[in-house]
Amino acid sequence: MAGLEVHIGDLKLKNPVMTASGTFGYGTEYADFIDLGRLGGIFVKGTTLAPRQGNDYPRMAETPSGMLNAVGLQNKGVDYFVEHLYPVIKDYDTHMIVNVSGSTVEDYVACAEKLADLDKMPAIELNISCPNVKEGGMAFGTSCQSAAQVTREVRKVFPKTLIVKLSPNVTDVTEIARGVEDEGADAVSLVNTFLGMAIDVESRRPKLSTITGGLSGPCIKPIAIRMVWEVFHAVKIPIIGMGGICNWQDAIEFILAGATAVQIGTYNFIDPAASVKIIDGIHDYLERHQIASVNDLVGKMIVQ
């Protein structure tokens, strides 16, 4: 039996396959399709201090091998999460990790503080890379200084595993990764969506109400893998890789590039059982190649 267990900070994941924030609801949406207990972890929807209505419709446009979204962090706020959602999901047989978003450092800190108290919430993912909100969001993730600052402040109030989710919309992702590592992040996850845009040529209007939105799906995979590989050579903390993963081959590609674990995002919409198939696929790959543990593959792309 090939070993699938991996560690991210204090988190022990039964396997390296998790689902990406904003693409998997609170897990419950997928309970009809898969046994949630098989997953390494579930990153729940981006959660903010105050409730948010998100952006206006239309929020979605299909693009070649991908999609743009402009959801804009629609959620009922952290208090609602703590009171009504956490009690439902806390007993799932997998790690539930909240993706924390905000417009100010104070927002992030207040939100993280409330989540720190929850017994069964072993980690949070700081979303400093959402391209779909007017204030804050991606702005935090595209400057080294503000990325470091928000990490530092949240670190003070959140003693459990702190994952910082990086934006790919930057010249040098390693700089930001090192910045948040220095401030005590236990892991980085990457990539969030790329800022993109689409226009309906007949109506001459933008396809999204917000004009620009976040690009995800297989189209971004080559760039995401490059960034994971760059970050792997820049930091010591583990990396959670994502961006267009559809099958076990894609997942292995990220792992070889340096990801200790992966998240499946947009492809869940197309095949709600994709994550579980990917776990099986990684397992079979390890057996076929007689590799004892998936950890032995992390960053092990053969150069020369």
């Binding site: 949406e29 979605m60 197309i270 709600p272």
Partner: protein, 257 residues
């Protein structure tokens, strides 16, 4: 909700744009209960440009034959590819999705208004009503006679009124101009079709104090509540059209504001 492979039992070309496709579970699994207004998400294979699934209403459920009917209008590459699946071919569905029209609890005058391919869910709804002892009336609109699809099927379940833009069938004009709307007083209107038509119907219902439900065709990525892309602005804020819709009581919508 489940993901299941279906076999295309038949694929009938109704006119240059529309196909009626009847599918049954490939493994002969017995179909679950489905409600009128619900829809399926179809995986489009073999298309370089279609990445996401395509939402299509359940047009009819033939329990005896264990078949789902899908009425599809070709408007782009996704629907083109779906309509090109031959008899015997496979189609992967996530289903059943969404809420449904409110089925009547008591007798009354029910009008089901469909425009274009928006007539699709009305057939299933009409049949369910008929089985509950209600005689629905249908009011279907299209550009011309050949666009009013499945007429004999509709007639099996209730009275059929039609409008066409060119007057080639029924009354000339839009559905909201049909004389029955002036002559009769309905208790409940259900509608599905192009947005401008539904808005006009909603306005008529609102003005006449008639309860009205509309089935929306918002753009969808997942279809089962995971992406929050399909939201409709309602009096309760942004609500997912794929889980809390596609059917909305027009009182919930902000169309008439």
């Amino acid at each position: 909700m489940q993901v299941l492979d279906f076999t295309v039992r038949s694929n009938e070309t109704l006119n240059d744009q529309n196909h009626l496709i009847k599918v049954a579970p490939a493994g002969n699994e017995v179909l679950p209960e489905m409600q009128p207004g619900q829809f399926v998400q179809i995986l489009v294979d073999n298309s370089p440009h279609v990445f996401l699934r395509r939402p299509i209403s359940i047009n009819f459920v033939d329990k005896e034959k264990n078949e789902i009917w899908l009425l599809i209008q070709k408007v782009g590459e996704g629907t083109e590819k779906i309509c090109a699946i031959p008899e015997g071919g496979t189609m992967n569905l996530i289903y059943p999705l969404g809420n449904s029209f409110t089925l009547p609890e008591r007798k009354g005058k029910y009008l089901l208004v469909g425009g274009g391919v928006g007539t699709a869910p009305m057939l299933f709804l009409g049949k369910e009503m008929k089985e509950r002892g209600i005689d629905p009336e249908f009011l279907l609109g299209g550009r011309s006679s050949k666009d009013i699809l499945q007429r004999s099927d509709f007639e099996r379940y209730g009275t059929l009124h039609c409008t066409t833009e060119d007057g080639s069938l029924g009354e000339k004009g839009y559905v909201t101009h049909h004389s029955v709307l002036k002559e009769k007083k309905y208790d409940y209107i259900y509608t599905c079709g192009p947005k401008p038509m539904m808005v006009a119907v909603a306005k008529y219902a609102h003005d006449h104090g008639i309860e009205c439900e509309a089935s929306l065709e918002n753009l969808m990525a997942c279809g089962f509540g995971a992406c929050l892309c399909c939201v409709e602005k309602t009096v309760r804020g942004n609500i997912c059209a794929c889980t809390e819709g596609p059917v909305f009581n027009i009182n919930q919508l902000t169309w008439l504001d």
